[in-house]
């Protein structure tokens, strides 16, 4: 943005600038320019292009004349049952994965924070899933859930086709989502736990507080900033999840695991409705920003 604006109107600007910003400011901009160009070109550019597309009837075809259609995509989106069911699935998925991830990771972090034997090894092991790309995780869990050769059916002695069952598919992928996201949550919470001053616990113990009370009144309040940060990051990460679910179910059976991003992908790359898909992406970004803004604002206010 800055680059184009200043380039477009140099004479007027330079005259105005003469009594405007100091030489120091100018030099600062000059020095920042090399760093700004890639950001504008490769980050802001595509983003703005995507937002622009959302207001056109663009299609991924060679013969179609793209036209500006204003809010038509948006009204179509609001009336689209498929979108709302996908949105509902996305909400169930992201909230339950984030919450379960947090609870499980907090338990694991508390455990790893204790002085246990083999703690160092356990800490390393707990981070292992982090080192796996989502596609590999997806393939691995696909084998676990395999109806004939899967470990899960072997263990339970059942013959359930987990990922193809209309009511079991979503819970099944939520389990994978929790598993895949636990490491980073655990590591961050563990780091937070290690920053809690020992004196507080000592003081608590002197006053006769039990371990539950110490957890509730010392650990949690002390961890609060960390918890707020990691749950909001997890939420954004989860609602935008794509690779894992694409590998596991491709949104099936019958659309029961079609997360919003999978829906957008299908619209753009299978049905070639690029404009509509962009609007979908934009709408999801706005929803995420709104939810996150509300959450962070409330947390900040309470913290104050």
């Amino acid at each position: 943005m800055t680059a184009t604006e200043t380039r477009a109107a140099p004479p007027r600007r330079s005259r105005a600038r003469r009594r405007g910003p100091s030489r120091k400011t100018r030099e600062m901009w000059l020095l920042m320019l090399p760093a700004m160009v890639p950001v504008l070109l490769f980050s802001m550019g595509p983003l703005l292009y995507g937002i622009g597309l959302a207001f056109t009837d663009a299609r991924n075809t060679r013969v179609h004349q793209t036209e500006f259609v204003g809010l038509e995509n948006f009204t179509a989106l609001l009336a689209d049952d498929e979108f709302w069911s996908s949105f509902r699935i996305g909400a169930i998925w992201s909230v339950s994965v984030t919450v379960l991830q947090f609870v499980a990771a907090l338990g694991l972090a508390l455990l790893l924070n204790e002085k246990l034997r083999g703690r160092a090894v356990a800490r390393v092991l707990s981070v292992v899933p982090w080192a796996m790309p989502p596609v590999v995780i997806g393939l691995m869990w696909k084998l676990v859930y395999h109806p004939d050769a899967g470990i899960l059916n072997d263990l339970l002695g059942t013959h359930v086709n987990w990922l193809a069952d209309f009511s079991l598919a979503l819970p099944a992928i939520i389990v994978v989502g929790v598993w895949a996201g636990m490491p980073q949550t655990t590591v961050v919470l563990l780091a937070g736990l290690q920053n809690v001053p020992k004196e507080l616990y000592e003081a608590g113990e002197m006053d006769g507080a039990g371990s539950w009370r110490r957890f509730w009144s010392i650990t949690l309040p002390q961890l609060r900033p960390v918890i707020v940060a990691i749950t909001s990051l997890d939420f954004v990460w989860n609602i935008n999840q794509f690779g894992l679910v694409y590998v596991l179910t491709q949104g099936g059976p019958g659309g029961r695991t079609r997360l919003p991003m999978l829906f957008a992908y299908e619209e753009a790359f299978r049905y070639r409705m690029a404009g509509y898909a962009s609007m979908l992406g934009l709408a999801m970004a706005i929803v995420v920003l709104a939810v996150l803004g509300l959450y962070l604002w409330r947390q900040m206010r309470e913290a104050r």
Partner: protein, 433 residues
Amino acid sequence: MRIKSALAAAAVLTLAAACGGGGGESSSSPGAPVKLDFLSLAWQKESVAANKQIVDEWNKANPGIQVTYVQGSWDNVNDQLVTQFAGGTAPDVIHNDSPALAGFASDGYLLDLGAKLPAELKSDIPQTAWDTVTFDGGKGEQGVYGVPFLQESQVIIANKKLLDDSGVRVPAAGDPWTWDEFSAAAKKMTKGGTFGVAWPMKSPVNKTLNLALNFGGTFFQTAGGKTTVKVGPEEREVLQRIHDQLYKDKSADPAALGQGTADPLPAFYKGKFALLPTGVYLRQQVAEQAPDGFEWVTLPAPKGTSAQQGAVSQTLSIAQESEHPDEAMKFISFFLNGANQAKLAKGDWLLPTSQTAAADPAMTTKENGWDVATASAKDLVVAPFLKVNGFDEWKSKVATPALQEYFADKITLDQAATKLVEDGNKVLERYQR
């Protein structure tokens, strides 16, 4: 001054970056061989080997036109092509199937081969096969957007012992069961924990739509340039008959219902059911994996008012933006000559469109049911859904869930029909603006 020069530098940088991204590859210098990319979707071991062997032969014989074999996958080829076409990096020669061509053709991404086809290739492949690749090119004119080379027909793979024990008439290539006979036979074979038939219906749409033609069921009608979905008595016949086998006669194995095409095979080898209606290519897995001593035969698919089945073809097409379309056409006509088609068909256990290839002794042998399979080719007619713009979306959004629920007995035929028509027409409307 300093500002000005900085701005100039920035402008130059931006321009340079823009050009760097937008410029295509430079055209090859004269004398250097023409390079073609060939995206192949072959996946069975024998078939990949046959593909690579033919490409090698070509490269040795034609130093001036070098073809690079690029491996693709049926799972995501259409997503990949949409991206590559939009980005201008599509391969020159593209392997796909005819249902996908309709969309790409009307989007203007594929070259109309009509004028380029050599006479020899054109006459070796029957008109019914050419019909599966003739589409509207987006501006109202019809064009040929691929060369059809492999076709799939439906047959019934049967457990020979259970079939003989039941004492029913064994249908031959020219004399298939009627649907009534088929259901009666399945009923007769159902006893003591053994089922007559298994319908793996994880992806029910193409299978049922192709078989629906037995009773003239087309599922789509076009009037005044507008295509709509129709589910009348003709369309309901096959749906109802399969449903009856599952829930009225109870002659179909319910365990197979949610499975993919090849999934019921282990149960088939164990004799849990006698008949498996499926595509001809599945014979390959049966021939290779069946335990020793397991005897099986290939039976023709049942007939209704006719034995017609909907046909789709595997195809080779040329990208509209290919820089060397004529060389690509030469490669395709070599790749798909009679002898090579016979190799490819054998590798994929499918039916060749080439009449020379179909006459090959390997295609008419009794072994592994090739005679029945090849004979079924004459019943193939263009599947009506091929020409429907938006069929893919109708299939995945509307028809797959509706048919899955119907075959799982969760909704009635009337409810399924309403979904197919009402939700379906909404989908099709998007493509007809």
